[in-house]
Symmetry: C2
Subunit: 251 residues, 2 copies
DNA sequence: GCCAGATTAAATGTCAGACATTAAAATGTA
DNA sequence: TACATTTTAATGTCTGACATTTAATCTGGC
Protein backbone atom coordinates (compact mmCIF):
# COMPACT_ATOMS: atom_id res chain seq x y z
CA UNK A 1 0.00 0.00 0.00
CA UNK A 2 1.69 3.15 -1.17
CA UNK A 3 0.85 6.74 -1.97
CA UNK A 4 2.46 9.49 -3.99
CA UNK A 5 3.26 12.53 -1.83
CA UNK A 6 3.91 14.63 -4.93
CA UNK A 7 0.49 14.06 -6.44
CA UNK A 8 -1.87 16.99 -6.46
CA UNK A 9 -4.53 14.73 -4.99
CA UNK A 10 -5.24 15.01 -1.27
CA UNK A 11 -3.12 12.65 0.77
CA UNK A 12 -6.18 11.56 2.75
CA UNK A 13 -7.96 10.66 -0.49
CA UNK A 14 -4.99 8.65 -1.68
CA UNK A 15 -4.71 6.79 1.61
CA UNK A 16 -8.42 6.05 1.59
CA UNK A 17 -8.13 4.69 -1.93
CA UNK A 18 -5.15 2.50 -1.02
CA UNK A 19 -7.00 0.94 1.90
CA UNK A 20 -10.24 0.64 -0.07
CA UNK A 21 -8.44 -1.17 -2.87
CA UNK A 22 -6.86 -3.52 -0.35
CA UNK A 23 -10.30 -4.35 1.04
CA UNK A 24 -11.82 -4.91 -2.39
CA UNK A 25 -8.87 -7.07 -3.43
CA UNK A 26 -9.36 -9.17 -0.33
CA UNK A 27 -5.98 -8.30 1.18
CA UNK A 28 -7.87 -7.09 4.20
CA UNK A 29 -10.61 -9.44 5.23
CA UNK A 30 -13.79 -8.89 7.18
CA UNK A 31 -13.32 -8.05 10.87
CA UNK A 32 -9.59 -7.71 10.42
CA UNK A 33 -8.12 -4.88 12.42
CA UNK A 34 -6.26 -2.16 10.58
CA UNK A 35 -3.05 -0.80 12.08
CA UNK A 36 -3.61 1.97 14.61
CA UNK A 37 -3.82 5.54 13.40
CA UNK A 38 -0.31 6.20 14.66
CA UNK A 39 1.04 3.18 12.83
CA UNK A 40 -0.74 4.13 9.62
CA UNK A 41 0.59 7.66 9.93
CA UNK A 42 4.04 6.18 10.27
CA UNK A 43 3.57 3.82 7.35
CA UNK A 44 2.31 6.47 4.94
CA UNK A 45 4.63 9.08 6.38
CA UNK A 46 1.86 11.56 7.15
CA UNK A 47 0.36 13.01 10.29
CA UNK A 48 -2.40 11.44 12.32
CA UNK A 49 -5.10 13.96 11.32
CA UNK A 50 -4.47 13.10 7.69
CA UNK A 51 -4.86 9.39 8.43
CA UNK A 52 -8.01 10.14 10.37
CA UNK A 53 -9.54 11.99 7.44
CA UNK A 54 -8.84 8.97 5.28
CA UNK A 55 -10.46 6.63 7.81
CA UNK A 56 -13.52 8.85 8.06
CA UNK A 57 -13.94 8.63 4.31
CA UNK A 58 -13.95 4.86 4.52
CA UNK A 59 -16.32 4.94 7.48
CA UNK A 60 -18.73 7.06 5.43
CA UNK A 61 -18.90 4.22 2.91
CA UNK A 62 -19.44 1.67 5.69
CA UNK A 63 -16.20 -0.03 4.68
CA UNK A 64 -14.77 0.18 8.19
CA UNK A 65 -16.04 0.70 11.71
CA UNK A 66 -14.04 2.06 14.63
CA UNK A 67 -13.94 1.11 18.28
CA UNK A 68 -12.43 3.17 21.03
CA UNK A 69 -10.45 1.93 23.99
CA UNK A 70 -7.69 -0.59 24.43
CA UNK A 71 -7.67 -3.21 21.68
CA UNK A 72 -9.92 -0.85 19.76
CA UNK A 73 -9.15 0.49 16.33
CA UNK A 74 -10.53 0.38 12.82
CA UNK A 75 -11.95 -2.90 11.58
CA UNK A 76 -12.99 -3.98 8.13
CA UNK A 77 -16.75 -3.94 8.21
CA UNK A 78 -18.97 -6.71 6.99
CA UNK A 79 -21.13 -4.66 4.64
CA UNK A 80 -24.73 -5.42 5.51
CA UNK A 81 -27.63 -5.17 3.11
CA UNK A 82 -29.31 -2.60 5.32
CA UNK A 83 -26.28 -0.30 5.27
CA UNK A 84 -25.83 -0.61 1.54
CA UNK A 85 -29.55 -0.09 1.09
CA UNK A 86 -29.63 3.11 3.14
CA UNK A 87 -26.75 4.51 1.12
CA UNK A 88 -28.37 3.56 -2.13
CA UNK A 89 -31.59 5.32 -1.21
CA UNK A 90 -29.70 8.49 -0.35
CA UNK A 91 -27.73 8.36 -3.58
CA UNK A 92 -30.69 7.54 -5.80
CA UNK A 93 -32.84 10.20 -4.20
CA UNK A 94 -30.21 12.85 -4.79
CA UNK A 95 -29.63 11.65 -8.32
CA UNK A 96 -33.29 12.04 -9.14
CA UNK A 97 -33.66 15.41 -7.47
CA UNK A 98 -30.44 16.93 -8.80
CA UNK A 99 -30.34 15.69 -12.35
CA UNK A 100 -33.67 16.76 -13.61
CA UNK A 101 -34.57 13.15 -14.15
CA UNK A 102 -38.08 13.45 -15.44
CA UNK A 103 -40.88 11.78 -13.64
CA UNK A 104 -41.54 9.66 -16.70
CA UNK A 105 -38.02 8.26 -16.87
CA UNK A 106 -37.92 7.45 -13.15
CA UNK A 107 -41.37 5.94 -13.29
CA UNK A 108 -40.53 3.82 -16.29
CA UNK A 109 -37.39 2.50 -14.59
CA UNK A 110 -39.20 1.73 -11.40
CA UNK A 111 -41.99 -0.24 -13.00
CA UNK A 112 -39.64 -2.05 -15.35
CA UNK A 113 -37.64 -3.21 -12.36
CA UNK A 114 -40.71 -4.11 -10.42
CA UNK A 115 -42.09 -6.18 -13.25
CA UNK A 116 -38.77 -8.01 -13.34
CA UNK A 117 -39.48 -9.57 -10.00
CA UNK A 118 -43.15 -10.26 -10.61
CA UNK A 119 -42.66 -13.84 -11.88
CA UNK A 120 -40.47 -14.70 -8.93
CA UNK A 121 -42.90 -13.15 -6.48
CA UNK A 122 -45.70 -15.16 -7.98
CA UNK A 123 -43.75 -18.32 -7.28
CA UNK A 124 -42.35 -17.61 -3.86
CA UNK A 125 -44.43 -15.01 -1.99
CA UNK A 126 -44.97 -16.00 1.64
CA UNK A 127 -48.31 -15.70 3.47
CA UNK A 128 -46.63 -13.01 5.54
CA UNK A 129 -45.89 -10.87 2.51
CA UNK A 130 -49.40 -11.35 1.21
CA UNK A 131 -50.78 -10.26 4.56
CA UNK A 132 -48.64 -7.12 4.44
CA UNK A 133 -49.98 -6.27 0.99
CA UNK A 134 -53.59 -6.74 2.13
CA UNK A 135 -53.01 -4.67 5.25
CA UNK A 136 -51.56 -1.79 3.25
CA UNK A 137 -54.40 -1.91 0.76
CA UNK A 138 -56.82 -1.62 3.65
CA UNK A 139 -54.92 1.35 5.06
CA UNK A 140 -54.92 3.06 1.67
CA UNK A 141 -58.70 2.88 1.60
CA UNK A 142 -59.18 4.69 4.88
CA UNK A 143 -60.52 8.23 4.63
CA UNK A 144 -58.55 11.05 6.21
CA UNK A 145 -55.20 9.61 5.26
CA UNK A 146 -52.67 12.30 4.37
CA UNK A 147 -51.02 12.19 0.96
CA UNK A 148 -47.72 11.45 2.61
CA UNK A 149 -49.08 8.55 4.62
CA UNK A 150 -50.71 7.23 1.46
CA UNK A 151 -47.35 7.35 -0.33
CA UNK A 152 -45.58 5.63 2.55
CA UNK A 153 -48.15 2.88 2.51
CA UNK A 154 -47.69 2.60 -1.24
CA UNK A 155 -43.96 2.10 -0.74
CA UNK A 156 -44.56 -0.61 1.86
CA UNK A 157 -46.97 -2.37 -0.46
CA UNK A 158 -44.56 -2.40 -3.36
CA UNK A 159 -41.70 -3.44 -1.12
CA UNK A 160 -43.68 -6.44 0.02
CA UNK A 161 -44.22 -7.32 -3.63
CA UNK A 162 -40.50 -7.01 -4.32
CA UNK A 163 -39.50 -8.93 -1.20
CA UNK A 164 -41.82 -11.65 -2.37
CA UNK A 165 -39.24 -12.55 -4.96
CA UNK A 166 -37.19 -13.95 -2.13
CA UNK A 167 -33.93 -12.64 -3.55
CA UNK A 168 -31.94 -10.32 -1.31
CA UNK A 169 -30.00 -8.82 -4.18
CA UNK A 170 -33.18 -7.97 -6.03
CA UNK A 171 -34.77 -6.52 -2.90
CA UNK A 172 -31.73 -4.39 -2.33
CA UNK A 173 -31.75 -3.01 -5.85
CA UNK A 174 -35.47 -2.55 -6.24
CA UNK A 175 -36.38 -1.25 -2.83
CA UNK A 176 -33.83 1.48 -3.40
CA UNK A 177 -35.40 2.44 -6.68
CA UNK A 178 -38.92 2.44 -5.26
CA UNK A 179 -38.01 4.47 -2.22
CA UNK A 180 -35.94 6.98 -4.15
CA UNK A 181 -39.03 7.85 -6.16
CA UNK A 182 -41.02 8.77 -3.09
CA UNK A 183 -40.13 12.47 -3.09
CA UNK A 184 -41.38 12.70 -6.66
CA UNK A 185 -44.51 10.77 -5.77
CA UNK A 186 -45.10 13.04 -2.80
CA UNK A 187 -45.66 15.92 -5.18
CA UNK A 188 -48.81 14.30 -6.44
CA UNK A 189 -52.09 15.07 -4.75
CA UNK A 190 -54.18 11.97 -4.51
CA UNK A 191 -57.86 12.73 -4.81
CA UNK A 192 -60.42 10.35 -3.39
CA UNK A 193 -61.16 9.11 -6.89
CA UNK A 194 -57.53 8.44 -7.79
CA UNK A 195 -56.97 6.65 -4.51
CA UNK A 196 -59.90 4.44 -5.25
CA UNK A 197 -58.42 3.55 -8.63
CA UNK A 198 -55.03 2.78 -7.15
CA UNK A 199 -56.51 0.65 -4.39
CA UNK A 200 -58.42 -1.30 -7.03
CA UNK A 201 -55.21 -1.95 -8.98
CA UNK A 202 -53.36 -2.90 -5.81
CA UNK A 203 -56.11 -5.34 -5.00
CA UNK A 204 -55.78 -6.86 -8.45
CA UNK A 205 -52.05 -7.24 -7.90
CA UNK A 206 -52.48 -8.85 -4.50
CA UNK A 207 -55.07 -11.22 -5.94
CA UNK A 208 -52.77 -12.15 -8.79
CA UNK A 209 -49.86 -12.69 -6.43
CA UNK A 210 -51.99 -14.90 -4.27
CA UNK A 211 -53.17 -16.83 -7.32
CA UNK A 212 -49.55 -17.02 -8.49
CA UNK A 213 -50.60 -15.52 -11.80
CA UNK A 214 -47.45 -13.84 -13.07
CA UNK A 215 -48.81 -12.48 -16.37
CA UNK A 216 -51.69 -10.85 -14.53
CA UNK A 217 -49.30 -9.14 -12.10
CA UNK A 218 -47.32 -7.88 -15.05
CA UNK A 219 -50.37 -6.57 -16.86
CA UNK A 220 -51.68 -4.80 -13.77
CA UNK A 221 -48.32 -3.19 -13.12
CA UNK A 222 -48.43 -1.85 -16.66
CA UNK A 223 -51.84 -0.37 -15.95
CA UNK A 224 -50.65 1.10 -12.67
CA UNK A 225 -47.67 2.68 -14.37
CA UNK A 226 -49.85 4.27 -17.01
CA UNK A 227 -52.23 5.59 -14.39
CA UNK A 228 -49.43 6.96 -12.22
CA UNK A 229 -47.98 8.82 -15.15
CA UNK A 230 -51.36 10.18 -16.09
CA UNK A 231 -51.83 11.50 -12.56
CA UNK A 232 -48.38 13.09 -12.55
CA UNK A 233 -49.05 14.79 -15.87
CA UNK A 234 -52.28 16.30 -14.67
CA UNK A 235 -50.45 17.73 -11.68
CA UNK A 236 -47.75 19.21 -13.89
CA UNK A 237 -50.31 20.66 -16.28
CA UNK A 238 -52.30 22.20 -13.44
CA UNK A 239 -49.16 23.80 -12.06
CA UNK A 240 -48.12 25.17 -15.41
CA UNK A 241 -51.57 26.67 -15.89
CA UNK A 242 -51.47 28.27 -12.46
CA UNK A 243 -48.02 29.72 -13.17
CA UNK A 244 -49.24 31.04 -16.52
CA UNK A 245 -52.22 32.73 -14.88
CA UNK A 246 -50.00 34.35 -12.31
CA UNK A 247 -47.68 35.52 -15.09
CA UNK A 248 -50.67 36.96 -16.92
CA UNK A 249 -51.78 38.87 -13.83
CA UNK A 250 -48.32 40.33 -13.26
CA UNK A 251 -48.03 41.41 -16.88
CA UNK B 1 -28.39 22.70 11.79
CA UNK B 2 -27.54 21.60 15.27
CA UNK B 3 -25.65 18.80 16.99
CA UNK B 4 -25.66 17.32 20.48
CA UNK B 5 -22.23 17.58 22.11
CA UNK B 6 -23.30 15.15 24.86
CA UNK B 7 -24.19 12.37 22.48
CA UNK B 8 -21.90 9.36 22.42
CA UNK B 9 -21.79 9.64 18.65
CA UNK B 10 -18.72 11.21 17.06
CA UNK B 11 -19.10 14.92 16.58
CA UNK B 12 -17.81 14.63 13.02
CA UNK B 13 -20.48 12.04 12.24
CA UNK B 14 -23.18 14.27 13.68
CA UNK B 15 -21.98 17.27 11.73
CA UNK B 16 -21.83 15.23 8.54
CA UNK B 17 -25.37 14.04 9.13
CA UNK B 18 -26.63 17.57 9.77
CA UNK B 19 -25.15 18.84 6.54
CA UNK B 20 -26.25 15.78 4.58
CA UNK B 21 -29.80 16.20 5.81
CA UNK B 22 -29.72 19.83 4.77
CA UNK B 23 -28.63 18.83 1.28
CA UNK B 24 -31.27 16.14 0.95
CA UNK B 25 -33.95 18.49 2.23
CA UNK B 26 -32.92 21.02 -0.38
CA UNK B 27 -31.85 23.66 2.14
CA UNK B 28 -28.48 23.60 0.45
CA UNK B 29 -28.76 23.58 -3.31
CA UNK B 30 -26.40 22.40 -6.00
CA UNK B 31 -23.22 24.44 -6.38
CA UNK B 32 -24.00 26.41 -3.27
CA UNK B 33 -20.93 27.12 -1.18
CA UNK B 34 -20.87 25.90 2.39
CA UNK B 35 -19.43 28.20 5.06
CA UNK B 36 -15.66 27.92 5.40
CA UNK B 37 -14.22 25.31 7.73
CA UNK B 38 -13.45 27.99 10.29
CA UNK B 39 -17.01 29.29 10.16
CA UNK B 40 -18.45 25.81 10.46
CA UNK B 41 -16.15 25.10 13.41
CA UNK B 42 -17.46 28.25 14.99
CA UNK B 43 -21.08 27.43 14.24
CA UNK B 44 -20.95 23.92 15.64
CA UNK B 45 -18.58 24.96 18.40
CA UNK B 46 -15.94 22.39 17.55
CA UNK B 47 -12.40 22.52 16.24
CA UNK B 48 -11.42 22.70 12.63
CA UNK B 49 -10.06 19.14 12.37
CA UNK B 50 -13.43 17.85 13.54
CA UNK B 51 -15.21 19.85 10.86
CA UNK B 52 -12.75 18.59 8.30
CA UNK B 53 -13.46 14.97 9.22
CA UNK B 54 -17.13 15.66 8.69
CA UNK B 55 -16.49 17.24 5.29
CA UNK B 56 -14.33 14.31 4.21
CA UNK B 57 -17.19 11.98 5.04
CA UNK B 58 -19.46 13.95 2.75
CA UNK B 59 -16.81 14.10 0.06
CA UNK B 60 -16.53 10.31 0.17
CA UNK B 61 -20.19 10.16 -0.77
CA UNK B 62 -19.70 12.68 -3.58
CA UNK B 63 -22.09 15.01 -1.82
CA UNK B 64 -19.61 17.88 -1.79
CA UNK B 65 -16.46 18.86 -3.60
CA UNK B 66 -13.76 21.18 -2.30
CA UNK B 67 -11.69 23.84 -3.96
CA UNK B 68 -8.58 25.41 -2.59
CA UNK B 69 -7.53 29.00 -2.86
CA UNK B 70 -9.32 32.30 -2.35
CA UNK B 71 -13.06 31.99 -2.94
CA UNK B 72 -12.57 28.26 -2.61
CA UNK B 73 -14.37 26.09 -0.12
CA UNK B 74 -16.80 23.22 -0.04
CA UNK B 75 -19.59 23.19 -2.60
CA UNK B 76 -22.66 21.04 -2.85
CA UNK B 77 -21.92 18.65 -5.66
CA UNK B 78 -24.22 17.88 -8.54
CA UNK B 79 -24.25 14.12 -8.18
CA UNK B 80 -23.46 12.68 -11.59
CA UNK B 81 -24.56 9.29 -12.81
CA UNK B 82 -20.95 8.20 -13.29
CA UNK B 83 -20.06 8.99 -9.67
CA UNK B 84 -23.10 7.25 -8.31
CA UNK B 85 -22.47 4.35 -10.64
CA UNK B 86 -18.86 3.90 -9.49
CA UNK B 87 -19.98 3.89 -5.89
CA UNK B 88 -22.71 1.42 -6.58
CA UNK B 89 -20.33 -0.99 -8.24
CA UNK B 90 -17.98 -0.85 -5.26
CA UNK B 91 -20.81 -1.39 -2.81
CA UNK B 92 -22.48 -4.16 -4.77
CA UNK B 93 -19.20 -5.96 -5.36
CA UNK B 94 -18.38 -5.94 -1.66
CA UNK B 95 -21.90 -7.00 -0.76
CA UNK B 96 -21.63 -10.02 -3.00
CA UNK B 97 -18.15 -10.98 -1.88
CA UNK B 98 -18.73 -10.46 1.85
CA UNK B 99 -22.18 -11.83 2.34
CA UNK B 100 -21.87 -15.23 0.88
CA UNK B 101 -24.43 -14.31 -1.72
CA UNK B 102 -24.62 -17.47 -3.74
CA UNK B 103 -23.88 -17.39 -7.40
CA UNK B 104 -27.43 -18.52 -8.10
CA UNK B 105 -29.02 -15.65 -6.21
CA UNK B 106 -26.79 -13.05 -7.84
CA UNK B 107 -27.30 -14.58 -11.25
CA UNK B 108 -31.06 -14.72 -10.84
CA UNK B 109 -31.15 -11.06 -9.83
CA UNK B 110 -28.98 -10.01 -12.69
CA UNK B 111 -31.00 -11.71 -15.38
CA UNK B 112 -34.29 -10.67 -13.87
CA UNK B 113 -33.14 -7.07 -14.06
CA UNK B 114 -31.78 -7.48 -17.52
CA UNK B 115 -34.99 -8.96 -18.79
CA UNK B 116 -36.79 -5.98 -17.34
CA UNK B 117 -35.19 -3.71 -19.88
CA UNK B 118 -35.50 -6.10 -22.82
CA UNK B 119 -38.83 -4.72 -24.09
CA UNK B 120 -37.55 -1.16 -23.94
CA UNK B 121 -34.31 -2.09 -25.68
CA UNK B 122 -36.26 -3.76 -28.44
CA UNK B 123 -38.12 -0.51 -29.02
CA UNK B 124 -35.34 1.98 -28.71
CA UNK B 125 -31.95 0.46 -29.40
CA UNK B 126 -29.78 2.68 -31.57
CA UNK B 127 -27.66 1.45 -34.50
CA UNK B 128 -24.67 2.36 -32.39
CA UNK B 129 -25.66 0.02 -29.59
CA UNK B 130 -26.37 -2.75 -32.06
CA UNK B 131 -22.93 -2.26 -33.56
CA UNK B 132 -21.35 -2.53 -30.12
CA UNK B 133 -23.14 -5.80 -29.48
CA UNK B 134 -22.01 -7.24 -32.81
CA UNK B 135 -18.44 -6.11 -32.23
CA UNK B 136 -18.30 -7.76 -28.83
CA UNK B 137 -19.76 -10.97 -30.19
CA UNK B 138 -17.02 -11.00 -32.78
CA UNK B 139 -14.37 -10.46 -30.13
CA UNK B 140 -15.78 -13.25 -28.00
CA UNK B 141 -15.33 -15.65 -30.90
CA UNK B 142 -11.64 -14.98 -31.30
CA UNK B 143 -9.34 -17.76 -30.17
CA UNK B 144 -6.65 -17.01 -27.61
CA UNK B 145 -8.85 -14.65 -25.63
CA UNK B 146 -8.19 -14.87 -21.89
CA UNK B 147 -11.08 -15.73 -19.59
CA UNK B 148 -10.86 -12.27 -18.09
CA UNK B 149 -11.03 -10.54 -21.46
CA UNK B 150 -13.96 -12.76 -22.38
CA UNK B 151 -15.77 -11.69 -19.21
CA UNK B 152 -15.01 -8.02 -19.84
CA UNK B 153 -16.41 -8.32 -23.34
CA UNK B 154 -19.45 -10.05 -21.90
CA UNK B 155 -20.03 -7.10 -19.57
CA UNK B 156 -19.73 -4.64 -22.46
CA UNK B 157 -22.20 -6.66 -24.51
CA UNK B 158 -24.77 -6.75 -21.75
CA UNK B 159 -24.25 -3.10 -20.96
CA UNK B 160 -25.03 -2.21 -24.54
CA UNK B 161 -28.21 -4.22 -24.23
CA UNK B 162 -29.14 -2.38 -21.05
CA UNK B 163 -28.23 1.02 -22.47
CA UNK B 164 -30.47 0.20 -25.39
CA UNK B 165 -33.42 0.84 -23.11
CA UNK B 166 -32.53 4.51 -23.33
CA UNK B 167 -33.27 5.12 -19.67
CA UNK B 168 -30.44 6.54 -17.58
CA UNK B 169 -31.94 5.39 -14.32
CA UNK B 170 -32.24 1.83 -15.58
CA UNK B 171 -28.72 1.88 -16.97
CA UNK B 172 -27.41 3.11 -13.65
CA UNK B 173 -29.15 0.39 -11.68
CA UNK B 174 -28.50 -2.48 -14.06
CA UNK B 175 -24.97 -1.73 -15.11
CA UNK B 176 -24.04 -1.77 -11.44
CA UNK B 177 -25.61 -5.17 -10.98
CA UNK B 178 -23.97 -6.62 -14.06
CA UNK B 179 -20.54 -5.30 -13.20
CA UNK B 180 -20.70 -6.35 -9.58
CA UNK B 181 -21.15 -9.92 -10.72
CA UNK B 182 -17.93 -9.91 -12.69
CA UNK B 183 -15.69 -11.20 -9.90
CA UNK B 184 -18.03 -14.17 -9.53
CA UNK B 185 -18.08 -14.71 -13.28
CA UNK B 186 -14.31 -14.54 -13.40
CA UNK B 187 -14.15 -17.73 -11.36
CA UNK B 188 -15.62 -19.65 -14.26
CA UNK B 189 -13.30 -21.18 -16.82
CA UNK B 190 -14.80 -20.83 -20.26
CA UNK B 191 -13.91 -23.76 -22.47
CA UNK B 192 -13.94 -23.39 -26.23
CA UNK B 193 -17.23 -25.27 -26.32
CA UNK B 194 -18.94 -23.10 -23.69
CA UNK B 195 -17.74 -19.95 -25.40
CA UNK B 196 -19.23 -21.14 -28.61
CA UNK B 197 -22.55 -21.72 -26.91
CA UNK B 198 -22.51 -18.28 -25.30
CA UNK B 199 -21.60 -16.58 -28.57
CA UNK B 200 -24.51 -18.35 -30.22
CA UNK B 201 -26.90 -17.09 -27.55
CA UNK B 202 -25.48 -13.60 -27.78
CA UNK B 203 -26.00 -13.68 -31.53
CA UNK B 204 -29.61 -14.69 -30.99
CA UNK B 205 -30.06 -11.79 -28.62
CA UNK B 206 -28.48 -9.30 -31.00
CA UNK B 207 -30.67 -10.60 -33.82
CA UNK B 208 -33.77 -10.30 -31.69
CA UNK B 209 -32.83 -6.79 -30.61
CA UNK B 210 -32.32 -5.80 -34.22
CA UNK B 211 -35.65 -7.37 -35.17
CA UNK B 212 -37.24 -5.61 -32.19
CA UNK B 213 -38.56 -8.95 -31.03
CA UNK B 214 -38.93 -8.48 -27.28
CA UNK B 215 -40.30 -11.95 -26.40
CA UNK B 216 -37.39 -13.56 -28.24
CA UNK B 217 -34.88 -11.49 -26.27
CA UNK B 218 -36.58 -12.52 -23.09
CA UNK B 219 -36.56 -16.19 -23.99
CA UNK B 220 -32.91 -16.14 -24.99
CA UNK B 221 -31.95 -14.40 -21.77
CA UNK B 222 -33.70 -17.19 -19.88
CA UNK B 223 -31.65 -19.72 -21.81
CA UNK B 224 -28.47 -17.80 -21.18
CA UNK B 225 -29.20 -17.63 -17.47
CA UNK B 226 -29.78 -21.37 -17.31
CA UNK B 227 -26.59 -22.05 -19.22
CA UNK B 228 -24.54 -19.70 -17.05
CA UNK B 229 -25.78 -21.38 -13.88
CA UNK B 230 -25.03 -24.77 -15.34
CA UNK B 231 -21.47 -23.71 -16.09
CA UNK B 232 -21.01 -22.28 -12.62
CA UNK B 233 -22.29 -25.48 -11.04
CA UNK B 234 -19.92 -27.64 -12.99
CA UNK B 235 -17.06 -25.46 -11.79
CA UNK B 236 -18.20 -25.75 -8.19
CA UNK B 237 -18.64 -29.51 -8.53
CA UNK B 238 -15.21 -29.93 -10.08
CA UNK B 239 -13.65 -27.97 -7.27
CA UNK B 240 -15.44 -29.95 -4.60
CA UNK B 241 -14.29 -33.17 -6.23
CA UNK B 242 -10.71 -31.96 -6.35
CA UNK B 243 -10.86 -30.96 -2.70
CA UNK B 244 -12.31 -34.35 -1.78
CA UNK B 245 -9.53 -36.15 -3.61
CA UNK B 246 -6.92 -34.11 -1.86
CA UNK B 247 -8.61 -34.83 1.45
CA UNK B 248 -8.59 -38.52 0.61
CA UNK B 249 -4.87 -38.45 -0.18
CA UNK B 250 -4.01 -36.69 3.06
CA UNK B 251 -6.03 -39.16 5.10
C1' DG C 1 -6.88 -20.37 44.30
C1' DC C 2 -10.29 -17.16 42.94
C1' DC C 3 -13.02 -13.20 42.48
C1' DA C 4 -14.12 -8.09 42.82
C1' DG C 5 -12.40 -3.86 42.43
C1' DA C 6 -8.73 -0.57 41.31
C1' DT C 7 -5.13 0.48 38.10
C1' DT C 8 -2.91 0.73 33.86
C1' DA C 9 -2.30 1.06 29.04
C1' DA C 10 -3.58 1.55 24.40
C1' DA C 11 -6.44 3.18 21.38
C1' DT C 12 -9.65 6.73 19.33
C1' DG C 13 -11.83 11.50 19.91
C1' DT C 14 -10.94 16.33 20.31
C1' DC C 15 -8.57 20.65 20.62
C1' DA C 16 -5.28 24.64 19.69
C1' DG C 17 -2.19 26.86 16.93
C1' DA C 18 0.93 27.04 13.34
C1' DC C 19 2.70 26.81 8.60
C1' DA C 20 2.33 25.39 3.49
C1' DT C 21 -0.03 25.68 -0.69
C1' DT C 22 -3.32 27.12 -3.86
C1' DA C 23 -5.92 30.17 -6.74
C1' DA C 24 -8.89 34.00 -7.20
C1' DA C 25 -9.17 38.84 -6.66
C1' DA C 26 -7.18 43.26 -6.14
C1' DT C 27 -3.62 46.24 -7.35
C1' DG C 28 -0.13 48.47 -9.87
C1' DT C 29 2.17 49.53 -14.23
C1' DA C 30 3.33 50.04 -19.15
C1' DT D 1 -6.73 48.35 -21.82
C1' DA D 2 -3.69 44.50 -21.05
C1' DC D 3 -0.47 42.25 -18.39
C1' DA D 4 2.36 41.25 -14.35
C1' DT D 5 2.52 41.43 -9.36
C1' DT D 6 0.82 41.34 -4.79
C1' DT D 7 -2.59 40.33 -1.56
C1' DT D 8 -5.75 37.46 0.60
C1' DA D 9 -8.82 33.90 1.82
C1' DA D 10 -9.40 29.49 1.65
C1' DT D 11 -8.02 24.44 2.07
C1' DG D 12 -4.14 21.03 3.10
C1' DT D 13 -0.92 19.45 6.49
C1' DC D 14 1.82 19.09 10.74
C1' DT D 15 2.93 19.00 15.79
C1' DG D 16 1.79 18.18 20.27
C1' DA D 17 -1.28 17.89 23.75
C1' DC D 18 -5.27 16.40 26.49
C1' DA D 19 -9.88 13.80 27.06
C1' DT D 20 -12.30 9.66 26.90
C1' DT D 21 -13.18 4.96 26.43
C1' DT D 22 -12.41 0.21 27.18
C1' DA D 23 -9.94 -4.08 27.60
C1' DA D 24 -6.36 -6.14 30.02
C1' DT D 25 -3.72 -6.36 34.08
C1' DC D 26 -2.68 -6.00 38.69
C1' DT D 27 -3.90 -6.25 43.64
C1' DG D 28 -6.00 -7.28 47.90
C1' DG D 29 -9.15 -9.88 50.53
C1' DC D 30 -11.78 -14.12 51.06
Amino acid sequence: MKIDPDSTVDLSAQIAKAIRDAIIAGDLIVDQRLPSEAELADHFDVSRPTVREALKRLAAQSLIRTQRGASGGAFVNRLRFEDAYAQQVTTSTLLLSMNAVSFDVACEARYALERACAPLSAQRRTPDQLATMRAEIHRQGQPGLTDEAFCASDVTFHRALVDGAGNKVLSYQLAGAVEAMQPLMNMITFTARSREAIVALHTDIADAVEAQDAPKIDATLVELEAYTRELAHSVVTARAQKAAEKEHKTA
